[in-house]
Subunit: 272 residues, 3 copies
């Protein structure tokens, strides 16, 4: 089956299964994450107390760990929920927000990678390079490294090392399962001017992987939904409108997303 | 006075008194809850530290407890604030988000019901059935049980048992004070496709009960504001718009809400 | 240089430097704060764990402390981050949300003022009077004291005492560095009907002070951006629209904000 057909299947399965996406996530973009999961047809739930995360993840289809506003209390919950998910064969998505900025974040991610088997790791180039082991400058939670140099190699090698899908998002997105590598040329630069588009991409990947066994297709689909919806939101902008309207149109586009969007606007390629 | 006139009085009193609605609530939908309370004319305040909730609730008109992202720290605050509210005769609204999903939630609600006298309990059918004692499947925080079978009996009996208003919201809403039962046929299914409409309903009930001594009328008014505003938001949608715009129009409708909306669109009936 | 030219310079510097604005803030309006910082050209980061705030603030251009939903855990973080910012000569903005409502808030602000040197203190008249030492009634987090009586004297004297910029926002805004006093007559009353406009003003001041050494000009610019954008958002409202649309247009206006807005609409005056 060609990659577009795989994506159609993921979209169809989300509507059919309405996967429950358990998030342990930050309080900055949590509302956006909940709304985007609903918009694509999934069902979000957020729960972070260590006394309930194992039970909650047990009824979920997928677990999304996002360290955006981590603290010592939630780090324990990441580990407990992640291990339980592994035990039950529930896919785990990790968004290592702002890794490199503080050692608390570095250590938390190190511990997660050691104790939890991931299905998908999604970050910007700064974050992924940091995990890969390349010294990189960081500036809070936003990537300042948009070069694609070495992106392909990093994605393949890190995918192989972690035995999971690695998705590097940016002007061009690179996704690899450690063997194949895909690039996605969708998206619009306005997406980096509203908060939460990275987090929402991870949540969309969560919704997709909660409905699709093949995490490579899940990751590609989630990222394409965000990229294409960003383009449509920008095209929808009228005179005098700006980032407030853009954000509304982004959710509109996700909630109306369908096969035709992929057919007409999708730009995903395997890089040989 | 007929029920519509009671509702007009509640709406008028909110504008007149601008009740302070103290929330101890989740971090997913908290911003929506604050905005909807402001939109209807109330004044929201969120405070959850156990060292300040008693003082905060003492200056409030009403207390809303929402367990959406509860944790061991906030459970203590629920109890302290709830008891103080009882002591001062300030109405307490409980939204038992996701009860049934984890034992942490079950125990927290059990403890609240034991130690705090409620004015209104609002939940979806899954949540209310769980409290009533009927085994029900749960799926995260969204109801998967929309049957009205037994809804009337459950609302009456639970209202009697807890000596408070019980409001079951769904495709049709059922509200009882343990004696009378009302049904509301407003709302639109899009309301279940954005996050926080349940939480916002509870916050609206809070604003209403902070301005109206009769909690039955408060609960009915809060739920009708949400239902009718949902219908108006959907009618406002233009070609190509979706859930992002719907959410904006929902707040628009609440902020413009008035007697005429009830007169023209209200569908509340006493069930005999 | 006249004050307008100073403001143009601040606007230009934000775009040029894209200052990293580290927030320790509340979970009610945090998403709005992140989006407004991005909209004006800054880069927001939110981090509140005591084990990372010192490192995070070290890479930041400015620190914004907002006590809206403070708790015992975050109070420690306020102090640690504030002291580190002082050490590194990074400006600190304080938003004493709801001070006066509870002694936890009073004590937290007292401690911050004692241990941390502020660049800007921004609050509504109730909050600032409380810090100044005038008994004032409080109602949750919203000001019920909009009188300007004594505003000029309070701003000058408190600015002198704390050796920082004091900004009192309300129907008319008053800003002083302890010597000069400015008033700003921009804004619209709808701004008080959506949550977070106070917090967002503090975040905008943060973005401005992260790009401009003179905190007086930073504070004035931040407040004018909010005031003028509020006016433009209100003018943009169409028939049947309300607070949901207003909020979207507010972010639109901030993201399109430029020198011409100041030229055409700015109403800032030195009070002699």
């Amino acid at each position: 089956m060609d990659i577009n057909n795989q994506i159609y299947k993921v979209l169809e399965n989300i509507k059919k299964k309405s996967p429950l996406v358990h998030h342990i996530t930050n309080y900055v973009t949590v509302n956006d994450c909940a709304n985007i999961v609903l918009a694509i047809g999934g069902s979000p739930v957020m729960a972070d107390d260590k006394n309930e995360v194992e039970e909650m993840v047990s009824i979920a289809s997928v677990l999304v760990l996002n360290i955006g506003t981590l603290n010592t209390r939630t780090i324990e919950s990441f580990i407990l929920a992640g291990k339980k998910a592994n035990e039950l064969n529930i896919p785990v998505i990790l968004d290592p927000v702002g890794i490199g900025a503080t050692s608390l974040r570095n250590k938390a991610v190190e511990r997660i990678l050691k104790e939890v088997k991931l299905s998908v790791l999604r970050g910007n180039m700064s974050e992924i390079k940091n995990i890969y082991g390349i010294e990189t400058e960081t500036k809070g939670v936003d990537s300042i490294d948009d070069s694609l140099d070495g992106g392909k190699e990093i994605a393949i090698n890190l995918g192989k090392r972690l035995n999971c899908i690695v998705a590097i998002t940016g002007a061009v997105d690179i996704i690899s399962d450690g063997k194949k590598v895909y690039s996605i040329n969708n998206g619009h630069k306005m997406l980096s001017s509203i908060t939460g588009t990275g987090c929402m991409s991870s949540s969309l990947i969560g919704a997709c992987c909660g409905a699709e066994e093949n995490s490579l297709y899940g990751a590609i689909t989630g990222i394409m939904i965000m990229g294409i919806s960003g383009e449509k939101a920008q095209q929808h902008l009228k005179h005098n409108e700006g980032l407030g309207s853009f954000r509304v149109y982004l959710i509109d586009a996700v909630s109306n997303f369908n096969e035709d969007d992929i057919k007409e606007m999708g730009k995903v390629y395997e890089i040989k």
